[in-house]
Each structure stands twice: as structure tokens, then as C-alpha cells.
């Protein structure tokens, strides 16, 4: 791996320390002497979605070497999880990918429930499914807006946040949270849906659909957008699988691996789940898949609304949630890709080990593969379309 080799060559020290601001290295191995400039994109940079740092070497505007540096947001969640009981972990896993809080919650709840062989009421499962999809739309709107912004189109940001706000209000009415919902409990949900939630949902779905079409027109219908994204950062399906890239980035390469379909959880086996795919795996396709996924989520929400049964919203659980001894791996299709919790229990109140498999970690690892050889402005188009949340990378 080039980045690791680079770190080794530098004696394990990454280039770009504060003092060497304008030091440039002269390469003399070719006829034409050019100077590679060493640039630190991040940890404080407008385009890195948080504190991701990418050390790049540029030759003019072309990136010769790229090396992501992560860990600036490492909060030791896996260690903390070993010192929390299961209901506290639900509040904990809200935090690593703050844009997909509900989907994360569901993952850990599913792991515990499956180990305890807990029967979750139908209603709770349907509500969870619906909430996952609302959360997915919220997440995708964020990336739709920020991708436009990174390419220099400021307007989609304001538009998408309008819908995001509506969905946030909707979810807040049910969960009490705007970002960290903590709505799931082992065996069900914290609370039933409030009055008027279904009506509001039903009104919101067509609105989101209509607005989604607007984004399509606004961005996908733009010549400059095409020029900036088509053929940029094309990812091959084999490489994507090799790196463990999942989610929209994988679907854009034509691989329709989506655990909602291949390994259904919650009520995904009872609804029609469309997995939008594309062919080329470039930034344009990744973005298109993202927009299509919003529509697909709208479909699922409508089905959930139609199928929502009456009944209890939480199962009767023992006072102390204790997973039996053993290990289980639960995969969920999070908005950014496949999320997973590998839970090893020794029968106690706390997990013995909880491995958080986050989509962003694998996605970011793949980024140098796309960056090397591309241009500096393409870096923005690539990093903005691989879709990651830095908290999800570092955990």
C-alpha cells in the first residue's frame, strides 16, 4: 500500500509537520524537473466533512499520492461499550455516525434481541423500519446538499436542509431527539408514535419525492455538474468489494449488495425494497444512486404506513438485559453502507466485546485508490461522493 509505504519511508512520521510549510521536494528522476507540493487537506478543511486529514502530494494540480490520516475523532466507543450495559450502548451507538443514529440503534438492538431470542412486537418492527427509512432520507439529503456545495453550487444546501428540517421535526415528535434519537429499546421502542405522526408522514412523503425531483433537475440536469462528475473517480466493483466498500458507493459500481434484500432484518422481507444501482461507479453514478435511494426509501415508508398494525410497541423484557454467552454478527444497511455489530457476550450485563463495523471506515480506506492520479478539484468530487462521516470512521 502506497500510503503505508510512504509513512515507512518517512520513518513512521507523516509529512507535513507544522514547521515545513513551504518545503518542497525536488524530484530529479525524470528529464523534466517538477516539484511535488505536499498539501495537508484537513483536519480543518471545508471539504472533509469533519476532522479527516488527507495528506496529498500534488504535481501542479494532479495528485501523485494521497494518504488519509484518521483518528482525530477517535472516542474509543468499542472500549466504552465494554463498560456499559445494553440500553446505554443504544445511546452510545447513536454517536458514531450522527447522521444515521436510528439505523445504528436498531443494529445493536437487533443483536441483543436475536441473542436473547426476544420476540419484538410487529408494530415496533414496522415503526423501526419506517424510522430507519426516514433516517436514511435525512442522511442522504445531507450528502445531496453537501456534495453540491463542495462542487461550488451553494443553493442545494439550503433547499435540502428545508426538507431535512421537516423530517427532523417529524422524528423529533416521535423520539424527542433531533439527531440522537435513542428511540429503540431492547425488545421494542421507547414509546408509541404520537398523535398525528402518521398523517404528517403521509404528507411529507410526496413532498420529499417532489423535492427530490427538483434536486435531480437542479444538479443532474446541469452541464457543469456532468463535466465535474462523469468519469471522475470511477471505482471498479472488484476493488470496491476488496476494500469492503458498501452502500451507495458499491451500488454505483453495479453490485446490488444490500442487506435489506440479501439478509432482511426488521420488516424488510415484507416490503418491496428497490436497490438502485448504476454502472460506471463514478461520482456521477454515486450521486445518482443517492438520489434514487431517497425515492426508494419513500416507497418503503409508504408501505410501512400502509402495513402498520396496531398492538404493543415493546415486548416484555426482563429487568436486566443480559445477552447469553456467544457471539453474533448483525448486518444492517445503514444510509452510508453496511453497518454491523459483532457482539461477543460472556453472559453478563455488558458486552464482552462489541465490534462496530462502520461503512465509512472501509469507504475512506478506499479513497486513495481513487485519488491517486486525479486532479485536486476531483478530490472534492470524489471525497464528497464516497459518503462518509468522520465520526463513523474513527468511532
Amino acid at each position: 500500500m502506497t500510503q503505508a509505504a510512504a509513512a515507512d519511508a518517512a520513518g513512521g512520521v507523516l509529512p507535513g509537520a507544522p514547521g515545513e510549510s513551504l518545503q518542497v521536494e525536488v524530484r530529479s528522476d525524470g528529464d523534466l524537473q517538477t516539484q511535488d507540493m505536499n498539501l495537508n487537506i484537513g483536519p480543518q478543511h471545508p471539504a472533509t466533512h469533519g476532522v479527516l486529514r488527507v495528506v496529498i502530494d500534488v504535481d501542479g494540480e494532479r495528485i501523485v499520492r494521497a494518504q488519509p490520516v484518521i483518528g482525530y475523532m477517535h472516542r474509543a466507543f468499542e472500549k466504552l461499550a465494554e463498560h456499559r450495559d445494553y440500553r446505554q450502548i443504544i445511546a452510545l451507538v447513536n454517536r458514531h455516525d450522527w447522521l444515521s443514529a436510528f439505523c445504528n440503534e436498531v443494529g445493536v438492538a437487533l443483536a441483543v434481541e436475536r441473542m436473547m431470542e426476544l420476540e419484538v412486537p410487529e408494530r415496533a418492527q414496522w415503526i423501526r423500519t419506517m424510522m430507519c427509512e426516514w433516517n436514511r432520507i435525512m442522511n442522504h439529503l445531507m450528502f445531496v446538499s453537501s456534495f453540491g456545495l463542495e462542487l461550488g453550487a451553494i443553493t442545494p444546501m439550503f433547499y435540502a436542509f428545508r426538507e431535512r428540517e421537516d423530517i427532523q421535526n417529524l422524528m423529533e415528535s416521535a423520539t424527542g431527539g433531533r439527531l440522537h434519537f435513542t428511540y429503540t429499546r431492547g425488545g421494542g421502542l421507547k414509546d408509541d408514535l404520537p398523535l398525528g405522526f402518521l398523517k404528517a408522514s403521509e404528507e411529507l412523503v410526496p413532498l420529499v419525492r417532489r423535492r427530490n425531483q427538483e434536486y435531480r433537475d437542479l444538479l443532474l440536469g446541469n452541464e457543469i455538474f456532468h463535466a465535474r462528475t462523469k468519469g471522475v473517480g470511477a471505482l471498479e466493483p472488484e476493488v470496491a468489494l476488496d476494500y469492503g466498500v458498501t452502500g451507495p458507493a458499491l451500488h454505483a459500481t453495479g453490485v446490488a449488495e444490500d442487506s435489506r434484500v440479501t439478509e432482511p432484518y426488521l420488516k424488510y422481507d415484507e416490503v418491496d425494497v428497490t436497490v438502485p444501482v448504476a454502472e460506471n461507479g463514478d461520482s456521477y453514478d454515486r450521486f445518482q444512486v443517492l438520489l434514487d435511494r431517497i425515492d426508494a426509501s419513500c416507497d418503503i415508508i409508504e408501505q410501512c404506513l400502509g402495513n402498520l398494525p396496531a398492538g404493543p410497541f415493546a415486548a416484555k423484557t426482563p429487568k436486566q438485559v443480559k445477552a447469553p454467552e456467544g457471539a453474533i454478527y448483525v448486518r444492517t444497511e445503514n444510509p452510508l453502507g453496511q453497518g454491523g455489530y459483532y457482539l461477543i457476550s460472556d453472559g453478563g450485563k455488558q458486552p464482552y466485546r462489541l465490534r462496530m463495523r462502520t461503512p465509512s471506515f472501509n469507504n475512506v480506506q478506499m479513497i486513495p485508490h481513487l485519488l491517486e492520479g486525479s486532479m485536486l478539484p476531483d478530490m472534492i468530487a470524489i471525497m464528497g461522493s464516497v459518503y462518509f462521516v468522520v465520526g463513523d470512521v474513527d468511532r
Binding site: 513551504l22 518542497v24 528522476d29 525524470g30 528529464d31 523534466l32 516539484q35 501542479g60 494540480e61 494532479r62 468519469g231 471522475v232 470511477a234 491517486e372 492520479g373 486525479s374 486532479m375 476531483d378
Partner: protein, 204 residues
């Protein structure tokens, strides 16, 4: 001494000082910036002598294009901040040559022009156009043709370098093919280009 004389003197002093600084500055970017001052002072001198067109052409071509290219090239290759140690062994030789050249030119100018008085009535652009496009139309066109040939030749040279250069070719990606050697192409095309602009504007 009249007001124009004072201005002229000012321009000469400023330009002379800037020109001296250009060669003595220890920082190559500073030198380029002093060059801007020197060139602007020359433009001012042209202006006071009634050669308005020449003055603005000086600004457009030399300040707006040539110096920008110099700065551009410096920054692309290396533009260290702070003074540089200059290990130029030809320094004394350079001084001798420039002093000699200056003396030669001054002698030539003084002997040929002497103390002739200058007519500072501004030249109308229309007259300039008349001279360039009617009286000297043929030499002007030859000049334009030569510049075009030079332009195309430079382009051809730059192109070849791009294809066979030491840059590793990394694949058939379209975006990669588009990377242009920006300094080379702009270098080649813009200097004659600015001349082009001058031609067109001079048209009556």
C-alpha cells in the same frame, strides 16, 4: 520647470530606482515586483511624452501579461519566501556588461538626438492606425505571420513534450488526459496573443 517636467522627473527617478532594485533585490519575487514599478514608470514616461497608446500597451502587455507570466513561472517552480543567498559568480561580469551597455546606449542617444526638443502633442490613435495599416501594412502583416508561425511552432514543441515527457501515464482515464502542462501552454500562447490584441485594437 513646468508641471509635466516635474512629473517626468518623478517617473524617471521612480523608474530608475525600481530598475536598480530589480537587479539588486535578494528575493526573486521582489525583483519581479520592482519590475512592475519600473515598467509602470516607463508607461508614465510614455504618457507624458504624448504616446498614450504606447503607454497603455506597455501596461497591458508588459505589466498585465509579461510580469504576470514571470511571477506565474516563479511561483510554479520555486518562490521561496525571504531573502536567498545568491551565489552568482557572474555578478561582477554582469555589472560590467550592464554599465558598459548603459554607457553605449547613452552615448548613442546623446550623439544622435542631442538636445533636440520633443514635440509632446498627443498622437491620435487614428493616425497610428493609418501608419500601421496603410503605410506599413505589409511589414505589419509579415510580423503578424511570423508571430503566428512562432506560436504554432511553440505549440507543436509543447505538445510533443506532453506526450513523451517523463510523466508516467496512468491509464486511459479521460480526466487524466486533460491535464495540461499549464505553464507551457500559457507561456507559449499568451505573449504573441497579447500582441494580437494590440493589432486588433489598433484597427481603425
Amino acid at each position: 520647470m513646468s508641471v509635466p517636467d516635474l512629473f517626468m522627473l518623478g517617473a524617471l527617478v521612480l523608474g530608475g530606482a525600481a530598475a536598480l532594485l530589480v537587479v539588486t533585490a535578494r528575493n526573486v519575487v521582489h525583483a519581479a515586483l520592482y519590475l512592475v514599478v519600473a515598467l509602470v514608470a516607463v508607461a508614465a514616461a510614455f504618457l507624458w511624452m504624448g504616446a498614450e497608446f504606447l503607454a497603455w500597451a506597455q501596461v497591458l502587455v508588459y505589466v498585465g501579461a509579461v510580469v504576470v507570466l514571470i511571477l506565474f513561472g516563479l511561483m510554479l517552480t520555486r518562490a521561496p519566501i525571504g531573502p536567498m543567498a545568491q551565489h552568482n559568480e557572474n555578478r561582477k561580469f554582469a555589472v560590467a556588461v550592464s554599465v558598459g551597455l548603459f554607457a553605449l546606449l547613452m552615448t548613442l542617444i546623446v550623439t544622435t538626438v542631442g538636445d533636440a526638443t520633443l514635440d509632446v502633442t498627443p498622437v491620435r490613435v487614428a493616425d497610428l492606425g493609418e501608419v500601421l495599416y496603410v503605410q506599413w501594412a505589409f511589414p505589419f502583416m509579415v510580423l503578424g505571420f511570423l508571430l503566428t508561425v512562432a506560436l504554432i511552432g511553440a505549440l507543436v514543441l509543447a505538445r510533443r513534450e506532453e506526450g513523451e515527457g517523463p510523466l508516467p501515464d496512468e491509464g486511459p482515464d479521460d480526466a487524466r488526459d486533460e491535464r495540461e502542462r499549464a505553464p507551457a501552454s500559457s507561456d507559449v500562447t499568451s505573449a504573441p496573443g497579447s500582441g494580437d490584441a494590440g493589432q486588433q485594437i489598433g484597427a481603425p
